[in-house]
């Protein structure tokens, strides 16, 4: 029963969502909207699970003295933002928005900007002409990089054209092949879930 019920729910929901795609009938649309609504509601509850787990894990680790400063900062953020939202609202010029724009956004942008530094170090390390395949990778990378720089556009339009060709033919062909494989893999996995063969999401079977 513990397993059969979720498998039955999964099968019915999966089959309904699949079938509704083909039907413009108002009943099918109503079923679709209703499942969507329940999806939203269930999602809201999962956030509570996340918050509870976050608080419990961090408090336990702090009590053991493990990485206490990091964990305290994490917990402080978790408490601070809702408190600001509850007491000051979330509209423009509220303390919540101030914290969002002046604390959260710059911190997030800082982590994102690390990507530029890591692209530089990965390019330095990764693009080496070790063998024939690596030479092709290196040549393609250089062509695309050069073609994307405005200064080369100003000198000649040949490089942007070559870049366009590399991106839209060999690269696109490879990517489409990968995408078809991924699509088929996703579809067969989804079918396994709907048919109750794949039960990892239940309890790791």
């Amino acid at each position: 029963m513990q397993q059969r019920l979720p498998i039955a729910v999964c099968f019915i929901a999966g089959a309904l969502m699949f079938l509704q795609y083909f039907s413009p009938h108002p009943v099918a649309r109503a079923v679709f909207v209703t499942i969507n609504d329940y999806w939203q509601i269930i999602f809201a509850f999962t956030l509570l699970v996340g918050i509870a787990a976050f608080v419990r894990t961090n408090l336990r680790q702090i009590s053991r003295g493990k990485e206490a400063p990091y964990r305290l900062i994490g917990l402080a953020g978790l408490v601070l933002m809702p408190v600001l939202a509850v007491f000051g609202g979330i509209k423009i010029e509220s303390p919540f928005q101030w914290a969002f724009e002046n604390m959260l956004a710059p911190m997030q942008a800082t982590v994102f900007s690390l990507l530029a530094f890591f692209v530089a170090s990965a390019s330095f390390r990764g693009f080496r002409a070790r063998n024939a395949q690596a030479v092709i990778l290196l040549a393609a990378a250089l062509v695309v990089l050069i073609g994307r720089v405005p200064i080369t556009e100003m000198i000649s339009d040949t490089f942007p054209k070559i870049t366009f060709w590399v991106q839209n033919y060999p690269s696109m062909a490879a990517r489409r092949g990968i995408l078809i494989g991924i699509g088929l893999g996703s579809m067969t996995t989804a079918l396994r879930v709907i048919l109750g063969i794949e039960r990892t999401y239940l309890r790791g079977e």
Binding site: I90, A109, F117, S121, F124, L145, M154
Partner: protein
């Protein structure tokens, strides 16, 4: 040279180059690529009063690149007297979306509720996207400011995507794929995206197949669009930094290979 020292040199070099680029006043003249011209022409061709939906599908982290992209779209739309319905499918895009929309509306003297509206954020992107195909007011019963959606003048004649000319997703990730696959595929809606540069290639297959109408990509795309609009802004300001960083990476690749071959000659590699 040890690994850590090499990293410090690489990172320090990039930091210096980008910082210096922003401090100098050199400007590139970016010519509009066919893709940018296509996006511009489409928005330009819409009759006054047409409604477009702009979805702020990004996080705060990508703001430096996203802001110029969002501004060119919003400015062009308001300049041509198009009406805008703003939404956000990322919590962090909500406040940013509202700020950008309000700021641009002020520039063009537009009225909230009549010329534009911001419906706010909805979690569970696929569910929200599909739900709006049935009824926008059902997914967003009230706008960001708490006004019931069906009482807002701009929303009076809008039920779902059928009354909207185009959805423009301003995204820093793969979220726009949901717009393409579900709204483009199921509801036959025109989709345009304004994307961070790193994400452009993800959308190439959709662009080539015609599922995606057009892409305004990265700072370069924003700079080209700004030039078409005749309003240089953040895109143009960032072009030198981006160009310098590209050249720096090319130089690093070349140095990396020289070191590799020298090491191999000396029997180290």
């Amino acid at each position: 040279m040890n690994r850590l020292k090499t990293r410090w040199i690489i990172f320090g070099g990039l930091f210096l180059i980008v910082t210096l680029s922003y401090l100098t006043n050199i400007r590139f003249k970016s010519v509009a690529s066919p893709e940018i011209q296509k996006s511009y022409d489409y928005l330009d061709s819409l009759p006054e009063g047409s409604v477009i939906m702009v979805s702020f599908d990004h996080e705060a982290s990508s703001l430096p690149e996203i802001q110029p992209l969002a501004l060119v779209v919003l400015r062009h739309a308001f300049k041509n007297n198009l009406k805008i319905i703003g939404v956000s499918l990322f919590a962090e895009g909500t406040a940013i979306g509202y700020r950008l929309l309000s700021q641009t509306a002020r520039e063009y003297d537009k009225t909230y509720g009549v010329d534009y509206v911001f419906l706010g954020f909805k979690p569970q992107q696929i569910s929200a996207i599909l739900g709006m195909g049935e009824s926008i007011a059902h997914v967003f019963p009230e706008d960001y400011l708490g006004t019931p959606t069906d009482e807002i003048p701009i929303m009076m004649n809008i039920v779902n995507y059928d009354q909207i000319e185009m959805v423009i997703s301003i995204a820093d990730g793969a979220l726009a794929v949901h717009w393409i696959e579900y709204v483009g595929g199921q509801y036959h809606q025109n989709i345009m995206t304004a994307l961070t540069a790193a994400m452009i290639t993800t959308y190439d297959p959709y662009l080539a197949s015609g599922q995606l109408y057009s892409v305004i990509g990265g700072l370069k795309g924003a700079a080209e669009y700004e030039n078409l609009l005749g309003q240089p802004g953040g895109g143009n300001r960032g072009m030198l930094a981006q160009t310098s960083a590209h050249v720096y990476v090319i130089v690093l690749i070349v140095i990396g290979n020289i070191l590799y071959f020298r090491g191999r000659k000396n029997g180290k590699a």
